[in-house]
């Protein structure tokens, strides 16, 4: 079924979290005493396919499931139901970049590299590029806990993008850091695009998605509200945002209730 053109094929995937009112309920559910928890669908039965080389924007309100979906594509978490096929090596860039605070910048580069299966020699070959891109000067030999949040995300970004992934997933990562750095990132992402790599781009900034993405997935409460060319999806999303922003809290609740299930 997977043919060579596709980077990602999702078939009826759902991500279900069990939520509990208390630790006691959790324990009861765990040992099978009682069905205490409740299912929460972060992603509910969605299907889509993405061709290689497409830049997909993930749009949606907070809690719509964007990050959950991004995590699943990155292979960090696994769908509860359905099948998600990802062709190639994914790499994720997120605000909390998963660096180890007690290790120095250099050690973090080593560790991340080892964890994705590189040898020390391969890592050393990339090290200079990463350090140069992250541009954190002498701090590279200091523990990451001494870094500013901007430095952390720059290092995280530099590692993720220099390990040459096939699929890059960017989760809100460009919203931190100054404009010089985010421009540098955009440049690098553009060079990725030119090499025909697939990129997923989670952002609240409609203009970034418009400038950058070929297609967009609009998620709403865990479902796909729209999936298509950016030019088709963004106007719908903007219209929705305008209406939604104009709603009172009461109306918003009602809106959530009345969605087709």
């Amino acid at each position: 079924m997977m043919n060579n053109d596709f980077a990602v094929i999702a078939q009826h995937i759902s991500k279900i979290y069990r939520i509990y009112d208390s630790k006691g309920d959790r324990l009861k559910d765990l040992i099978g005493l009682k069905n205490a928890g409740e299912d929460f669908y972060a992603i509910r039965d969605i299907s889509f396919s993405v061709r290689k080389g497409e830049i997909i924007g993930l749009l949606g309100l907070n809690g719509s499931g964007k990050s959950t979906l991004a995590n699943m594509i990155a292979g960090v978490s696994v769908p509860t139901k359905g099948t998600l096929t990802v062709a190639g090596k994914p790499s994720m860039i997120a605000i909390s970049s998963g660096l180890n605070n007690n290790l120095t910048g250099i050690e973090n580069i080593d560790m991340k590299g080892l964890m994705i299966g590189m040898t020390q020699r391969e890592i050393n070959a990339l090290k200079n590029d990463i350090i140069e891109f992250a541009d954190i000067g002498r701090f590279i030999n200091q523990p990451v806990k001494t870094y500013s949040s901007g430095m952390k995300s720059r290092l995280g970004f530099a590692i993720s993008i220099n390990i040459n992934p096939d699929i890059l997933i960017i989760d809100e990562a460009l919203s931190v850091g100054d404009s010089t750095f985010s421009n540098k990132c955009l440049e690098r992402i553009n060079s990725f695009r030119e090499r025909g790599k697939t990129i997923f781009f989670v952002s609240h900034s409609i203009s970034q998605v418009r400038d950058f993405c070929t297609k967009a997935i609009w998620l709403e409460f865990g479902r796909i509200r729209a999936f298509g060319l950016t030019d088709d999806v963004i106007p719908m999303y903007e219209r929705f945002i305008r209406t939604y922003n104009g709603m009172s809290a009461e109306e918003r609740r009602e809106y959530k209730m009345n969605l087709p299930h």
């Binding site: 079924m1 094929i9 078939q11 009826h12 995937i13 759902s14 979290y17 324990l27 765990l30 039965d45 969605i46 299907s47 889509f48 396919s49 995590n71 990155a74 292979g75 960090v76 978490s77 696994v78 509860t80 139901k81 359905g82 099948t83 994914p90 790499s91 994720m92 997120a94 909390s96 970049s97 998963g98 660096l99 180890n100 007690n102 290790l103 050690e107 080593d110 560790m111 991340k112 080892l114 964890m115 994705i116 299966g117 040898t119 020390q120 995280g156 479902r223 796909i224 729209a226 999936f227 298509g228 088709d232 999806v233 719908m236 219209r239 087709p260």
Partner: protein, 372 residues
């Protein structure tokens, strides 16, 4: 106002899942709104605009159609048209999620085994890296890895050797060397038991943003502790020289016993690391149990004076097998193949632990990241 199903409004499937709804362009002054239905349920409202076409990206299978509202803003007047119906079939064509095949214990274990073998170079390099990092934030650094056990050995020797035994030998062997031959493997076992349980949990923070085979972490932890253990063996050998024990080919049995112990500990950690992911209490409990196990196993005291029943029970203790293994090969010139029944029994336990551990891992590993 009657709803006309007419050629004035249409629905088309343009490509993949792109549905286009539209109606004929009536010219200036007209506005068009669309209500899109899936299986007769309204799923999307598109308000009045001068555009007479709209696009909808279908994601769910079913029957689609739209009702187009046409409003004349100049002359007044409204009309509505229903488009033709379209059946859209989502890829694979079923609304049910494809079911995942249930796997047998054997298949689970083979999966884990295959993954471990494939990832072994990575695990080994990572373990070496972690080993180098440990104790890095102290001034004396790796020296502590040797100092801490030496101080413990000294304490136990004072309390058990001088105090309780009043310096008596164990058979013909000086107590201190007899004790150290049991303590050194115990240090390995103790560290791995405790840290193996938290092996996945402790690393999970760093892993929450990347794809990583979590199932390999118990083995990685065992390897880190094994490197430590190999350093300790150097101390052990030096002590043996001092007491007049010189290397002979029986010492090569240690390789067998170290591999056996590493497999046992990895199997056990596969299980305990899953429990720890669900409840951190488990690792606390395990710490206490390990301490208890230390005093129950004849590491500091010799079995000779125990009731026969207890001695029989102790023969079933995997840790006792490692500890006696070390003593037999280093002090009593005995090899492991001289008791094949024991070897068969303890390797069966190892296999059972691995089968249970890999089943648990396969069953729960998809949830690990979500449990943090």
């Amino acid at each position: 106002m009657a709803m006309t199903q007419s050629t004035a409004a249409f629905a088309e499937l343009e490509e993949e899942n792109k549905l286009v709804f539209g109606c004929e362009n009536k010219g200036a002054g007209y506005l068009y709104a669309f209500y899109i239905y899936l299986n007769d349920t309204l799923i999307e409202k598109i308000p009045y605009s001068p555009k007479c076409r709209t696009v909808f990206w279908a994601t769910l299978s079913g029957k689609y159609y739209a009702v187009v509202f046409v409003k004349n803003t100049l002359a007044g007047g409204k009309d509505r048209f229903k488009t033709n119906e379209l059946i859209y079939q989502a890829e694979e064509g079923s609304l049910e999620a494809p079911s995942r095949p249930k796997k047998t214990v054997w298949e689970n274990s083979m999966e884990i085994l295959k993954e471990t073998v494939l990832q072994f170079p990575m695990i080994f390099r990572l373990a070496l890296f972690d080993y180098k990092l440990e104790n890095q934030d102290t001034y004396l650094g790796r020296l502590w890895n040797i100092l801490t056990p030496l101080i413990q050995i000294g304490t136990f020797w004072l309390v058990f050797g001088i105090g309780l035994r009043q310096g008596n030998n164990v058979g013909e062997v000086p107590f201190v060397i007899w004790m150290v031959c049991g303590l050194i493997p115990w240090f390995f076992i103790n560290q791995t038991l405790v840290k193996g349980a938290t092996s996945i949990y402790a690393k999970a923070n760093t892993l929450s943003r990347m794809k990583f085979p979590l199932v390999t972490l118990p083995l990685e932890r065992t390897l880190v502790e094994m490197f430590e253990h190999l350093m300790m063996l150097v101390i052990l050998f030096i002590m043996l020289f001092c007491f007049g024990y010189y290397p002979n080919w029986h010492w090569f049995n240690l390789i067998y016993y170290i591999i056996y112990t590493a497999c046992f500990l990895t199997g056990l950690s596969l299980i305990t690391s899953v429990f720890t992911m669900f409840a951190r209490d488990f690792s606390k409990l395990l710490q206490s149990l390990t301490r208890l196990l230390f005093y129950l196993t004849p590491i500091l005291w010799d079995m000779g004076r125990m009731p026969e029943f207890y001695q029989k029970i102790m023969l079933l203790n995997p840790i006792y097998y490692s500890v006696t293994g070390f003593r037999e090969s280093l002090l009593y010139e005995t090899s492991f193949w001289e008791s094949p029944d024991k070897a068969a029994f303890f390797w069966t336990i190892n296999i059972l632990l691995f089968l249970a551990g890999s089943t648990l891992q396969v069953k729960f590993r998809d949830q690990f990241i979500d449990l943090l």
